[in-house]
Each structure stands twice: as structure tokens, then as C-alpha cells.
């Protein structure tokens, strides 16, 4: 996957410390890829210091992130890290308790997913994408049927569906087959091309590769690139750094509702990303504790810290960046 790695003009920028993220500098991020959004480089979607509480539970704390046109922002985190809460905020299902949510530079408050959709923010859920027993074309236009008088314009819908899928590289001979007969990857792609067709500017993909095999995951990653090439901003939620790294331009890592890092592509290697996801910082902490305990535990601690070093996930980054891991 060479395209995303050598993105033209993709200068490495400093990772944003959440504390500085509100400064105007952050607003220029969209300029990196330039031409996409025709909006002076204002990011399509931006969260600034956003948090979410459910009663006493802090589900999300102080998250800052953005996605511009022709960009893929990956949100990584283990189960319970706050990924779903984050999506729900961006998708309009929930409102952030603190911080701001901006769409194309303007602060917004969405009361429903429909409002988010009207602003061009479409969410493709992992398992909610389609109705398996319904034909592909019915799924494609579900909820937004094209009508001719009272009845549906079926010929138009079938043709549009076929064409749109073809534009995404899926050549279906028969759009009348139940969508359940397609492979998991293809189903995701139907959902993605549907969102694109209905004018999405930002796609939120909720773990689109989670239930898929290696090959099918590759198919979905290809469509993420395709969506980006068509000028969309993509927010790609995953727990798999191997899926995120090749397609992503930015990476937001979450752990227990907090950001444990927000990087540009140039600031982090795949191994570092993997290490962070594997809980590198926690392993390191553990190794220090074991070492200070002395005796046999110290030996184990040494082994652990060596492993952490090898994985490249230790605290002092080798090159340059000062704020690689933004911490509270």
C-alpha cells in the first residue's frame, strides 16, 4: 500500500497536545492535502477537548481530533477504550458533555443521527450496515427510496446501484440477489458506496474489518482508500494497528476514555503504533515496578523492559518529537 505512505505534501507535523489544540494552528491541518474540501483547509470534522459523562462514569475525557477532506483519521483502542462513545458523538447519537464539536469550522450540536447526516456525516456500523435478506438495490436505497409518483423508480435505482458499486470496483451481475449472499467485505462496501452516493462528506466506519478475514479486510481497506481519493474524509475506527497504519493519515489512540496519543503519519512507525496498542506504556510501568521490587521479580522486570525497548514503545522516543505521547 504505497499511496498513503507517500502522500504528496504530507509533511510531518508535531503531534498536537490537547492543551494546544484549540490554537489556530490546528485549523490549518486540512491544507496538507489542499484541494479536497474547497473550504480553505478547514477540517470537515473537529473535536476540541471533547468529553462525555454518563452520570458518574467518564466515558470519554478531553479528546481532540480532526479529519479533513482526502484524509483518513484512524481511531484505535482496545475494548472499552471509548471508541464507540466517540463515534456516537460524531454521528450525532450523543452530545459531548464538555468541549466542542465543529463541522467545517462551525460549532454544531446534533440532536439525532439524521442531523449529522444532513451535514454530510454518515456512519457505517459494523453489523448494522444492511438487511441480509433484502436485495442489494433495496438495501442501497433503504430509507431514501427514489420515487416516481407513489411508487418507486425501480429501474433507476437498480441502475444507479449497479453503477455506484462499479465505481467502487464491485461488479455485481445481479443487484437483485439478497445482500446476505455477498461476502462480509462486499457488504461493508455496499454500505460505504451508499453513504458516498447520498452525499456523505465524512464517513465514520465502525470496525469495518473486525469480523473479516485477512483478504476481505484488504478489500475493505481498498475501499477506504477509494473513498479518500474521491475527496471524502474518513474516520476509521479499529483495534487493529495493522489495518490502520497503511491507510491512515492521523492516528488517535484511546485507552480508558483518554487519548494516549495523537499522531501524524510521519511521526510514528507501525511498530510504535502496535506497541502503543499493546499497552507499551503499561508494560514499561510494570517493568519498573518489578525492577524496584528486587530479587527474582527484578529479573523479570529486566526482561520486560528489554522487550519494551525492542518493540520501540519506550517512553523517550528516538527521534525528534517532544510530545509524542500526550498525557494528562
Amino acid at each position: 500500500m504505497s499511496t498513503p505512505q507517500n502522500t504528496p505534501g504530507g509533511n510531518p507535523r508535531h503531534a498536537k497536545d490537547p492543551a494546544q489544540a484549540g490554537t489556530p494552528a490546528a485549523g490549518t491541518a486540512g491544507l496538507r492535502k489542499g484541494n479536497g474540501n474547497g473550504n480553505g483547509g478547514v477540517p470537515l470534522v473537529r473535536l476540541v477537548n471533547a468529553g462525555k459523562r454518563y452520570g458518574a462514569v467518564i466515558a470519554l475525557h478531553d479528546i481532540t481530533m480532526e479529519v479533513g477532506a482526502r484524509e483518513v483519521t484512524c481511531v484505535l483502542g482496545d475494548n472499552g477504550a471509548g471508541k464507540s462513545t466517540l463515534i456516537k458523538i460524531i454521528a450525532g447519537l450523543h452530545q459531548p458533555s464538555t468541549g466542542t464539536y465543529e463541522v467545517e469550522g462551525k460549532a454544531v450540536t446534533f440532536d439525532s443521527p439524521r442531523q449529522a447526516l444532513e451535514h454530510g456525516i454518515a456512519t457505517v456500523y459494523q453489523d448494522l450496515a444492511v438487511v441480509p435478506l433484502m436485495p442489494v438495490w433495496r438495501n442501497f436505497f433503504l430509507g431514501a427510496e427514489v420515487k416516481k409518483g407513489v411508487r418507486m423508480n425501480i429501474a433507476f435505482m437498480k441502475k444507479t446501484c449497479k453503477d455506484e458499486l462499479l465505481a467502487m470496483g464491485i461488479d455485481l451481475r445481479d443487484v437483485d440477489q439478497p445482500i446476505g449472499t455477498l461476502s462480509g467485505g462486499e457488504r461493508q462496501c455496499v454500505a460505504i458506496s451508499r453513504a458516498v452516493h447520498f452525499g456523505a462528506k465524512v464517513l465514520i466506519l465502525d470496525e469495518p474489518t473486525a469480523a473479516l478475514g485477512v483478504k476481505q479486510s484488504g478489500v475493505v481497506l481498498k475501499y477506504i482508500i477509494q473513498a479518500r481519493e474521491r475527496g471524502l474524509g474518513v474516520i476509521f475506527i479499529t483495534h487493529n494497528p495493522h489495518h490502520a497504519y497503511p491507510v491512515g493519515d492521523r492516528f488517535l489512540l484511546l485507552n480508558r476514555g483518554r487519548s494516549i496519543g495523537y499522531f501524524e503519519k510521519g511521526q510514528i512507525t507501525r511498530d510504535e503504533l502496535t506497541g502503543l496498542m499493546a499497552g507499551g506504556a503499561e508494560l514499561e510501568q510494570l517493568s519498573h515496578e518489578l525492577e524496584s521490587a528486587g530479587g527474582a521479580a527484578a529479573d523479570i522486570g529486566h526482561v520486560l523492559s528489554e522487550e519494551v525497548q525492542e518493540l520501540g514503545i519506550h517512553h523517550e522516543p528516538s527521534a525528534g518529537s517532544d510530545a509524542r505521547i500526550s498525557q494528562e
Binding site: L128, M134, R151, M152, S183, G218, K222
Partner: protein, 352 residues
């Protein structure tokens, strides 16, 4: 990882070769009605051979008539089932509607049509309440409508007893507007010496409308999705709750229509009538290819399911058999249909 992503960089267009290989017969078999059509032909031939009276046009007209009284209700019940819900109160709701119309018109000595309209309002209300409770609470419709089924059954018998001191409603044939209402709901024509009731025509018309709605309008899309995967449907903006309430009200509407047909045919209604019919409607829908779990089926299938029920119902009589065996055959048919449907759905859902 890099390998994962590299594989699709040179994209051979993804073709589904299985589609090309599908024969026309396989395509026909994939339709929800397929099993029911085959079954109907077999059962028709069976009784045609063993029961000589079955061959008369007039016998077949009476088969169609019996079919239509069940088929009218099987149509909305099938739509409801495609929408993912049941209505166990559908059988007694027919009687409730007819009792309401006749008691109201008789006790207040109004025009028969006033009773008809009051009954319509009641039937729609029953449907609305069923649907509203189901979508608001998320309790399975099986339980909710089981409750309303028993409530209506009790109301039918108790209220009729209280008001008339009898087990049936009073004869309303002397009321104003009775003959015009009968002409609308329960007329019959004689064509070539064979008496045909309008309910057969209504049944076919309503079935056609339901099929059109299902296959040609966005409402049909919404019904399929509400039953097939309500969460997905909601996520793309389908008003699933309103669709389901609407379907319950459609059952209510048809319960009213069927009730009016029965009332104006016999002038009076037995208060305990209709119990058990809800299962006949559901059987017709399931035999016709509707999935119990929703999201799949057809109105035409339900009509054929009702026809199978009607043929067996009358065929046993024409064959001179003991009618006690009737429910055994219906049960066997149902079981066979469910096995077939399960097989078909597994094939339809099987992914790569």
C-alpha cells in the same frame, strides 16, 4: 498488514460466479411462494382425483369462498409477519368489530353505517394499541397480543351477555342502511349458475394491493427492513416504530372488513366466534413462505396458503372423510411448510 492491504491493489473486479450459474428453476424456487404453489397444485390434484364432487365449479366456488374469509385476514397478517411481528388477537378482533357494529347500531337504533364506522374506529384503535405497546416496550408481540387476545375474547362474551342477555348479537337486518351495507360487504353474484361472493373479489383485490405495496413502493421496502433487521433500518432512517404500528392497524382494518362481511351475511354474530382463527391466518402466511422471524415472505404466498387451507377444509368434506382429521392435516402442512422455509432461508442467507 502491508500484505493484507497490498492484495487488493491490483483489483480484479469481484464477480459472483454463483449468480450466473443459477438456473431458472432455482430462481423460481428461491421465491417465497414457491413451496406454497407446489403444495397447492399437489393438494388440488389430490382432491380432484379422490373426491369427485370437488371437480364441480360450484364446489370450487365454495372452496374459494372459504378461502377468501381466511385469505382477507391472512394478507395483513402476512405483511405484519414480514414486518417482524405477530398478532394473536386477529381472530377475535374480527368478532369484536362485528359485535361492536351490530350492538352499537342496534342499541342506539342508528343507521347500520354508523355502527360500521364506529367498529372501524374500534378496530383501528385495537391495532394501534397492540402496535404501540409492542414498539414502546419492546415486549415480543407474541405476548402483547396474547394478552389482548384474551382480553378481547372476554370482552366479546361478557359485554354481549351483559347488553343482550344472549350469546349472540341481535339481528340487525331491520336497521336502516342494512341493505346497502350488505350490498357493499356481503353481496353475491350468480355467474353461469355458480354463486360467487364479493369477498372473493375483495380478497384478490386486497392481496394485489398488498403485493403492490410490498414490491413496488418504499413502504414495502420499509416493511421488509423493519422485520429483517430493525436496527439497520433505524440506522438508515426508516421509521420502524411507525411502520410496525401501521401494520398492526392494517390488521385491525382487515379485521373490521372481515367482521363486516360476516355480520352483513348472517345479520348476527356469535360472541365466541373467531377463537383459533388467528392461528389459521398465521398458518396461511407461513405456508405461503413468510418467515416467523420476519423480513421475508409475500402476500401472494399468504393467499396461496389460505387457498391450501380452504381446499383441505372443503376437500375433506367432499371426499366424505371424517372432518375430525382436518386439524391433523393442517398441522402436518404447517410443519412441512416450516421445514421447507427454513431450508430456503438457509440457502438465501448462506454467504460466501
Amino acid at each position: 498488514m502491508a500484505q493484507t492491504a497490498e492484495a487488493p491493489v491490483t483489483p480484479p473486479p469481484i464477480r459472483d460466479e454463483r449468480i450466473g450459474r443459477k438456473s431458472p428453476l432455482a430462481r423460481l424456487l428461491a421465491r417465497p411462494e414457491a413451496g406454497a404453489i407446489a403444495g397447492a397444485i399437489v393438494i388440488y390434484l389430490f382432491f380432484f382425483i379422490i373426491a369427485p364432487p370437488f371437480r364441480n365449479a360450484s364446489s370450487f366456488a365454495s372452496v374459494l369462498y372459504v378461502t377468501s374469509t381466511y385469505g382477507l385476514m391472512a394478507t395483513p397478517v402476512a405483511l405484519l409477519m414480514i414486518g417482524g411481528e405477530f398478532d394473536l388477537s386477529a381472530g377475535v378482533a374480527v368478532t369484536s368489530s362485528a359485535l361492536c357494529a351490530s350492538l352499537f347500531a342496534f342499541e342506539f337504533t342508528t343507521n347500520a353505517w354508523v355502527g360500521v364506522l364506529v367498529a372501524l374506529a374500534l378496530s383501528l384503535l385495537i391495532g394501534f394499541i397492540n402496535g404501540w405497546i409492542v414498539v414502546k416496550t419492546g415486549i415480543p408481540s407474541f405476548l402483547v397480543t396474547l394478552g389482548t387476545f384474551f382480553m378481547l375474547q372476554g370482552l366479546n362474551i361478557a359485554l354481549t351477555q351483559t347488553i343482550t342477555n344472549q350469546v349472540s348479537s341481535p339481528d340487525i337486518s331491520t336497521l336502516q342502511g342494512f341493505s346497502s351495507a350488505r350490498a357493499v360487504f356481503s353481496a353475491s353474484w350468480t355467474i353461469g349458475g355458480v354463486s360467487i361472493r364479493t369477498s372473493i373479489v375483495y380478497w384478490i383485490v386486497f392481496c394485489a394491493i398488498a403485493t403492490w405495496i410490498l414490491l413496488r413502493t418504499h413502504l414495502g421496502n420499509w416493511i421488509f427492513s423493519a422485520g429483517g433487521s430493525p436496527a439497520s433500518a433505524r440506522a438508515v432512517g426508516v421509521p420502524v416504530a411507525r411502520v410496525k404500528i401501521g401494520l398492526f392497524m392494517a390488521v385491525g382494518f382487515m379485521a373490521w372488513f372481515t367482521g363486516m362481511h360476516t355480520l352483513f351475511l348472517f345479520n348476527t354474530i356469535q360472541s365466541a366466534q373467531g377463537i383459533g382463527n388467528e392461528f389459521v391466518y398465521i398458518i396461511a402466511a407461513v405456508v405461503g413462505g413468510c418467515l416467523l422471524t420476519g423480513g421475508y415472505g409475500s402476500a401472494i404466498g399468504a393467499a396461496i396458503g389460505a387457498l391450501i387451507f380452504g381446499m383441505v377444509n372443503q376437500g375433506i368434506v367432499y371426499a366424505g372423510w371424517n372432518p375430525d382429521w382436518f386439524t391433523f392435516f393442517v398441522g402436518a402442512l404447517l410443519l412441512g411448510a416450516i421445514l421447507l422455509n427454513t431450508y430456503i432461508r438457509r440457502r438465501a442467507e448462506a454467504s460466501a
